[in-house]
Each structure stands twice: as C-alpha cells, then as structure tokens.
Amino acid sequence: MTLASVTGTVVSTVKIKALEGLKLMIVHPINPDGKFTGKQMVAVDSLQSGVGDDVLIIDEGGSAGIMLEMSSQPIRTVIAAIVDSVDIVKEEKNVY
C-alpha cells in the first residue's frame, strides 16, 4: 500500500462496464512528510474521500477485485483507507 494525497477527480462518460457507477480520483503518492513523490495515478474510490484527503492506495488487481467485489476486472488501483494520522518514531540514535 502507498500513502497518497487525493488531488482531483476524474469524470468519464464513455468507459468500460466495470467502471460504471464508480468514483474516480486522481491520487498522487506522498512521503510521510506530505511531499509528493512518484507519478500520479487514477484510483477507484468507494470510501467517499475528498480532494485534500490523505489515503492509502492499493495498486494490485486481485485486491481491487476483492474490494469492488468483481473478478477479472481491468482495474488495479483502489483507495483502501482514508488516513487519520501517520505516527513516526523520533529518529533514535544508534538504532542500528
């Protein structure tokens, strides 16, 4: 799973059957400090997230199928959770 920030929404009228009725969001992976990293993607949202929310995305077809209760669907990126908080241990000295 990857931490990401919801940066926008996508509206599409002409689309494959599997995507009908599903909400699509643009998500951009972020580091724990909130900085953008990597490339943005489009994820299916079933949790009513909004622009600005930090979320956990899963980028794996089988998991997307489990979440959306579909099988052999051509969708692999889904929003799995809306993040409340990320706790990071303070950098301890001599951790290793």
């Binding site: 956990l56 889904v78 409340d84």
Partner: protein, 113 residues
Amino acid sequence: MVLAKVVGSVVSTIKEPRLEGVRFLLLEKIDVKTLKGKKDFVVAMDAVGAGEGELVFYVSGSSSRQTEITAGKPSDAAIIAIVDSFDIQGKTIYSKSGLAGEPKRGPNRGVSK
C-alpha cells in the same frame, strides 16, 4: 521481498471494512550496505507483530494475501518476517541484540550494531 525498517504506523477510521483490526505499519526501504533509509516508503500490513525500529521484510502483490492475517483482504504488501541478522559476503551487517533469549517486545527495544 524487500528489506525495510519499521519507522511508524498509520491510523485510519474510514477504511474498507475488511481492513478492520489490521495494523498498518509505515516502512522505509533501506540500503543493505549502509542500513540507511532510502526515503522510499511503503505501508504494509503487519502479519508478524513487528515493532517500530525493527528491520523486517515484506512481500508484495497477490502473495501478500497468503498469510492468516491478510487472507481474503485487499492487500498488496504484508510484513512476513522480522530480521534477526543478515550478512553480506560473510560480514555481518546487521544483528538484533538479545538473539539468544526471547526477543523483547514493545516500541523501545534495544537494537544495536
């Protein structure tokens, strides 16, 4: 599988119902030669009871659903083992202290070179 250090945890109330009761840990991938974090983060389900500061490795993709904790859940990364030690070309790079006894649990376990 990829070696990573547990650097934190992620809390979420609104989530996919099947993810209820699962711990999400924040992992930072490490450089295996220097043990330094690579500023490359991933959130993984915890299937072994790992604690912050520990060195672990995780499986990705559909293989991550093959543990008791993650079976049937939407998951693309699961921690499957806590690393005791590892060596490169015969030289021990990392070793968790207290190997002989029961590993100490809790957030402030002593982990030293």
